[in-house]
């Protein structure tokens, strides 16, 4: 391991919090999805770091499965963005207020 595990976890934690802040604070659907992407990549960095720390290959395998999951999630959520833009004419999350929530 080239760096201590704690430093790597700090970097991944900061990146995860930035993604979480983007997801919670932004109102554009595209930016919310980008925040989810940032969070998933922070988790991937943690997994690869754990794989290097314990000298086991399993962490890297989970990252590959995570990439497949992400591509499935992104394809279906972007299809929903296209659908909402067509139906409602906007992708601002605050405009979807038909249920008066």
């Amino acid at each position: 391991m080239i760096v201590p595990l704690s430093h790597l976890l700090i970097v991944a934690g900061i990146m995860f919090i930035m993604g979480l802040a983007c997801t919670l604070a932004r109102r554009n659907l595209i930016m919310i999805l980008i925040g989810v992407e940032v969070m998933i990549n922070a988790v991937g960095l943690t997994l690869v770091g754990g794989s290097a720390f314990w000298q086991q290959i399993d962490g890297q395998l989970v990252v590959v499965l995570l990439m497949a999951l992400t591509s499935a999630e992104v394809s279906i959520s972007l299809a929903m963005v296209v659908y909402l833009q067509r139906r409602k004419g906007t992708i601002e999350a605050d405009r979807y207020s038909e249920m008066k929530g």
């Binding site: 980008i34 690869v48 497949a68 999951l69």
Partner: protein, 171 residues
Amino acid sequence: MAATIFYILSAVALIATLLCITRRNPVHAVIYLVHAFFALALMFYLLGAPLVAAWEVIIYAGAIMVLFLFIIMMLELAPDESEHSTSTWKRWTPVLLLALALVVCTLLIMGIESVVGKEGVPAYYASPRDFGYALFKEYALAVEVVSFQLLFAAVGAFYVGKKEWRRGGRK
């Protein structure tokens, strides 16, 4: 040496992510996120995961981000750039600086012979052969489940993205 490059790359990744989540224009956000993914790929390589690093570039930066750009441009979500107040140089400087840092780090990684650990022992390195054996022997069931999930996602995306929502139904 490798540790220094790792810290530089983590700084690049964090700065690019910070710039990404604060952009108003989604296209700019995607461009900064591609920088962050390239930095993450180099970090994966330094941590002994060359195959994951390659897939990070191919799948995330290559496929998923291009899909984002495609949707943004298809729906015309990017705001108009013509009456931008800031100058061209001010907009291009952060992108160019981050790209320059990434290129320099790539050349430095190519320069060092092998990624050596802190105590001088070689760091953990998973070759693509070990990776393939582990993936298709121990995790064969997970691969099948993920492939089914990709199929379902493709079908679902096709269904949601259809122009006519229901034939003869609402609109």
